[in-house]
């Protein structure tokens, strides 16, 4: 496809069928049209595919690239932890390894970050702990986006009574602090796995997305192309998923990316408090919790899982920030 700045390609298509009068007008107009297009350039730049522009913008941001590399690394770590370490994160040797200090010569080895109070390799536990955090983060975000996106869409599209009912329910959920609500919910389960935590956080977190989605749908619903679709006789499904959703999804993606970091932090907090994940599961939150008993004698036991957690949360929030800046033309 020719570059869109190639104004030559904008010359009207010469064609025998159309009346001579009309075409005479067109050809005479062609020169003027080229210059007249100029004032529209700003508008066209803005209208030029939002995602294309955002991507071009993002590729030049070092912060975005750094966070993406970090996130990719963490995801690979979550899926294939054995590729990063040979050590078994559950092997506990209290005789030889009790609180052994980090050994920087043992590069990528079991003793690299030292051993914790149960004689387990901290490096191996940091690597294996990524799985719980990433799983919780991604699945909670996915669940919240689907649930909140659908309810927000329905509320914004139908409006009136439907909107009033959904918005009040959202308000009620919004009033429950995420952490407190999760504490209460998770307390009801005797055995808690990653999926119980995902469920609890999703049930409490969908309202944020629902609000954003509702607002975006309310704006897009008014636009002429949706009215044009209705005038053609398009059904609800077509209007929602072909016209409204693709144009309303940008703010939702931004909020979801930023929230992802928050869910990981919440999971770690819950695990730290002893109400999130439980011990056979390896989680940074659990390790931080058990490290506090030896924080004075062996601060490195706390440092490594805490650093991993901070880096992960930061990476997601930075990526979300960069995406928001790229998608918001006002910030350009």
């Amino acid at each position: 496809m020719p570059d869109i700045h190639d104004e030559d390609s904008f010359e009207p298509h010469p064609k025998p069928g159309i009346s001579r009068l009309d075409y005479a007008g067109e050809q005479g107009m062609a020169v003027e049209q080229e210059t007249l297009v100029e004032p529209d350039v700003a508008k066209r730049e803005e209208a030029r595919s939002l995602w294309g522009d955002a991507w071009r913008d993002l590729r030049r941001r070092p912060i975005f690239l750094l966070s993406v590399v970090l996130i990719l690394l963490l995801v690979v770590m979550a899926v294939f932890p054995w590729a990063f370490t040979d050590a078994n994160p559950r092997k506990a040797d209290l005789v030889h390894d009790y609180l052994r200090r980090p050994d920087w010569t043992d590069f990528f080895g079991a003793g690299w970050f030292g051993y914790d109070a149960q004689g387990r390799s901290i490096y191996a536990r940091v690597v294996y702990g990524a799985r719980a955090s990433i799983t919780v983060g991604i699945f909670v975000t996915a669940a919240v986006t689907v649930l909140g996106g659908l309810t927000g869409m329905v509320a914004g599209y139908y409006g009136r009574a439907v909107d009033a009912v959904i918005s009040r329910v959202v308000d009620i959920f919004f009033g429950i602090p995420l952490l407190l609500g999760a504490l209460v919910l998770l307390n009801a389960f005797t055995t808690r796995t990653v999926w119980t935590v995902v469920l609890a956080l999703a049930v409490l977190g969908w309202t944020q997305i629902a609000r954003v989605m509702r607002g975006a749908v309310l704006t897009v619903k008014q636009s002429d192309y949706v009215v044009a679709g209705r005038a053609l006789g398009a059904g609800t499904g077509r209007l929602m998923f072909r016209h409204i959703l693709p144009n309303a999804v940008a703010p939702v993606i931004v909020v979801a990316t930023i929230a992802l970091g928050g869910y990981i932090a919440t999971e770690a907090t819950l695990s730290f408090l002893g109400i999130g994940l439980q011990d056979p599961t390896i989680s940074w939150g659990i390790d931080i919790s058990s490290a506090q008993k030896v924080i004075r004698t062996a601060p490195y036991v706390l440092f490594f899982p805490a650093a991993a957690l901070s880096a992960t949360v930061l990476a997601f929030i930075m990526m979300g920030d960069a995406v928001r800046d790229a998608l918001d033309p006002k910030l350009r």
């Binding site: 009207p12 298509h13 009346s19 009309d22 007249l36 053609l232 006789g233 072909r242």
Partner: protein
């Protein structure tokens, strides 16, 4: 439509079999009677109480004839666009009737409404907002075929879309481009192609050129006129540019504050206007001649347009009219030809004191 490849002018007349019955030229195809659209004004958050209504369209009647162009003019906020939305069934009418070929369509829903939509289509004002930025031109123009699959069989759709692009004067190879890759005039052509896709009989144009540059306006107007001949379309052409309306219209209706105040042929309205509002509106048309500009006498109206939520009693124009008398506040003037006038001045005019202007100068200007 041009499936035989004979070119757009060759195969001009679409398959007429698709239409229920033919209406001969000059017969009404759309009859609008006492059409009312009120937007309720409510107070209260939970228990909404209606405290009034914005009377956007308040008892409008007119006929749209087969094959003609009816221009609707009026200043901003007089209800022109609301009228278009109600006719398109995009807003439910509060009262009155709209009959398409004698069939009441203002209260249809579901399948029956969808069927009527095939015959009445719309061209929007702003070509920058009326095309979905996430869809290609092929998807935008092809969408009518997906919604009404009986119009074009699946295999022929791409060809049908390319034919439509050809008809509106765009390169058929642009089918995979996105709207932002086109200029305003080209986008409006895409909007027109979408309106034509279902082979409608009536196209409602809601200020189709007011968002375009003046030089491009002429191209789009010419295209609309040419398509009218090719496809035997009836247009309802809403605009606030009086010169363009005169150029394209066979008949013109003038609206003020939700009511039709005068309606007649373009000559009757532009050269023999009898309603004071029409006369004032016409006297404000810019004249591209500095000497004539000096000599003509403009009618400068005082005051603002009253709120449509609380319109004046009797004649709605009386608050700004230099002819207003006590009778105007009491009696609503009917839209009918005044009996005391004759010749071209004898046409529908909703004024108790309808008369041509004394000086009788030509205030309309042909483009």
């Amino acid at each position: 439509m041009t499936a035989d490849g004979a070119g757009p002018t060759g195969a001009a007349v679409p398959e007429e079999a698709a239409f229920a019955q033919e209406v001969p030229r000059g017969e009404p195809i759309l009859e609008v009677r006492d059409l009312v659209k009120h937007f309720p004004l409510t107070r209260g958050v939970l228990f909404k109480k209606q405290v009034g209504a914005v009377k956007a369209v308040d008892g409008v009647s007119f006929d749209l004839m087969q094959g003609e162009t009816l221009g609707i003019v009026g200043e901003s906020g007089c209800g022109k666009s609301t009228l278009a939305k109600v006719l398109m069934n995009l807003e439910p009418a509060t009262g009155g009737s709209v009959r398409y070929k004698g069939e009441e369509i203002s209260r249809l829903s579901g399948g029956a409404l969808k069927a009527v939509r095939r015959n009445i289509q719309m061209v929007f004002q702003d070509p920058y907002t009326s095309l979905n930025p996430r869809m290609t031109v092929g998807d935008i123009i092809g969408e009518p075929f997906e919604i009404h699959p009986e119009v074009a069989p699946r295999g022929d759709r791409r060809k049908a879309v390319q034919d439509l692009l050809d008809v509106v004067g765009l390169n058929p190879e642009y089918i995979n481009r996105y709207p932002h890759q086109f200029s305003g005039g080209q986008r409006q052509r895409i909007g027109i192609a979408r309106g034509l896709a279902l082979k409608p009989e009536i196209i409602i144009c809601d200020e189709p050129v007011s968002a375009l540059d003046v030089s491009v306006q002429a191209q789009v107007i010419n295209l609309l006129e040419q398509l009218q001949g090719e496809f035997n379309l009836s247009y309802m052409f809403i605009a606030h540019d009086l010169s363009i309306v005169r150029h394209i219209s066979d008949r013109v209706g003038v609206m003020y504050l939700g009511k039709m105040v005068e309606i007649g042929s373009d000559e009757q309205i532009y050269d023999h206007a009898t309603h004071p509002y029409t006369q004032a509106l016409l006297s404000a048309v810019p004249v591209p001649d500095p000497t004539a500009r000096e000599s003509r006498d403009r009618i400068v109206l005082t005051g603002d347009v009253p709120s449509p939520a609380n319109p004046p009693s009797g004649c709605r124009f009386r608050t700004r009219c230099w002819k207003a008398q006590e009778r105007c506040a009491v009696e609503v003037p009917p839209l009918a030809p005044p009996g005391w006038l004759s010749g071209p001045a004898f046409h529908d005019s909703a004024c108790h004191f309808a008369a041509e202007r004394e000086s009788g100068e030509d205030v309309g200007s042909r483009p």
